[in-house]
């Protein structure tokens, strides 16, 4: 079994028994997609809500472009988008400032944009661990689609 690493502003796919892992999610959101029948997993680590220019080269950076990109990559290795379900983690607010600028609200805006992008493909969200103020490292199992979430302060949970 291999653990495939997904970087920041990056996407990756894996088939059972391999898994996908991304580290240090702060305001970024980890989008964990899984087709339980084909046992195909896909993971995106997005930084920003919406790509403003169509020429944007790195589609993995944005919620609205990473979702279709990831679905397409998963279908290439046997997934079917009608069976794909999603789990989300991240979107935290790492720092609290007196003035709540847009920069500070980026986490919740990312989560909102991911949900919109998923609903455009009628992909159901079965579980999420979003918001709060802690960093998260996540690992998506290709065997059963479980998502392991590790934080610095609150230990490990699985959703």
């Amino acid at each position: 079994m291999n653990v495939i690493r997904v970087g920041m502003a990056d996407v990756g796919t894996a088939s059972s028994p391999d898994s996908l892992r991304t580290t240090g999610l702060g305001s970024c959101v980890g989008i964990a997609l899984y087709d339980p029948y084909a046992k195909v997993a896909g993971l995106a680590h997005i930084m920003l809500p919406t790509a403003t220019s169509a020429e944007e080269k790195n589609r993995a950076k944005y919620a609205n472009t990473a979702v279709p990109m990831l679905i397409q990559m998963m279908e290439q290795i046997g997934a079917n988008k009608r069976r794909i379900v999603a789990k989300l983690a991240g979107g935290a607010q790492m720092f609290t400032f007196a003035g709540q600028s847009d920069l500070m609200r980026i986490g919740p805006r990312n989560v909102e944009a991911v949900k919109q992008a998923l609903s455009a493909f009628t992909i159901r969200i079965t579980a999420e661990d979003t918001g709060g103020n802690c960093g998260r490292t996540i690992e998506l199992s290709g065997v059963d689609g479980s998502l392991l979430i590790r934080t610095a302060k609150q230990g490990v949970t699985t959703i």
Binding site: A9, G24, L25, A98, I106, R136, A152, K153
Partner: protein, 208 residues
């Protein structure tokens, strides 16, 4: 025109190193005064790194660190981080907080947190005021915010401004040490897109 920071030449790099040197020199002096002990600093390292590599210098994205974060407002908007490992942060403030410290416990006391914030404030304030003198640009730090968490999660907030235009960050990294107490800290300056060329212009260096 947005600069492409991957095209930085030797002249621009040494200009940024000098900027870091002057800023950090003043910051180290202020910190020495506050702690009444000698603070050493290394010649700043200027590098252009992929978003994924930015946390490597403090031990990787998952490494738990103390992160003090300030935004720089004014003519050269930037982000500033002061990053320390937990043990270093405890040692750094132990003299300031005395018995209000947490000793060997993992958690930080309120007193330690506010001492760290004040250190961040002083470091950033003196770094920026010397930078402002040097460039004749107006620069104001926001009050510092602090977080104890994974380095990747902390630093990512500094990449949000860069995200829409680049996959790389320009980092001016200065390492601090306090005498023989084994305190290591990193001071990161991350200029926003557009700030880099303005900085070069103000110093009479060709832009990128």
């Amino acid at each position: 025109m947005m600069e492409d920071i991957r095209n930085l030449g030797e002249i621009q790099l040494s200009c940024l190193r000098e900027v870091g040197n002057i800023g950090a020199g003043h910051a180290a002096t202020s910190l020495s005064k506050l702690l009444q002990s000698e603070i050493h600093m290394n010649v700043p390292r200027v590098c252009v790194v992929g978003f994924d590599e930015i946390a490597d210098v403090v031990g990787g994205a998952e490494q738990v660190v103390i992160g003090i974060f300030l935004r720089v407002e004014g003519e050269l908007p930037s982000s500033i981080f002061f990053l320390l490992h937990q043990e270093s942060a405890k040692r750094l403030v132990s003299g300031l907080v005395g018995s209000y410290g947490s000793g060997d416990q993992e958690e930080f006391t309120e007193m330690e947190i506010s001492a760290l914030q004040e250190i961040g404030n002083i470091l950033a304030g003196s770094y920026l005021s010397s930078l402002a003198d040097f460039t004749k640009k107006d620069m104001q730090p926001t009050p510092p915010a602090i977080s104890v968490d994974m380095a990747g999660a902390i630093l990512s907030i500094g990449l949000i401004q860069l995200g829409p235009v680049s996959d790389y960050a320009l980092v001016v990294d200065t390492e601090f040490r306090q005498g023989d107490l084994e305190i290591h800290g990193h001071f990161f300056l991350l200029p926003d897109p557009g700030s880099v060329n303005l900085l070069f212009e103000s110093l009479g260096v060709a832009s990128v």
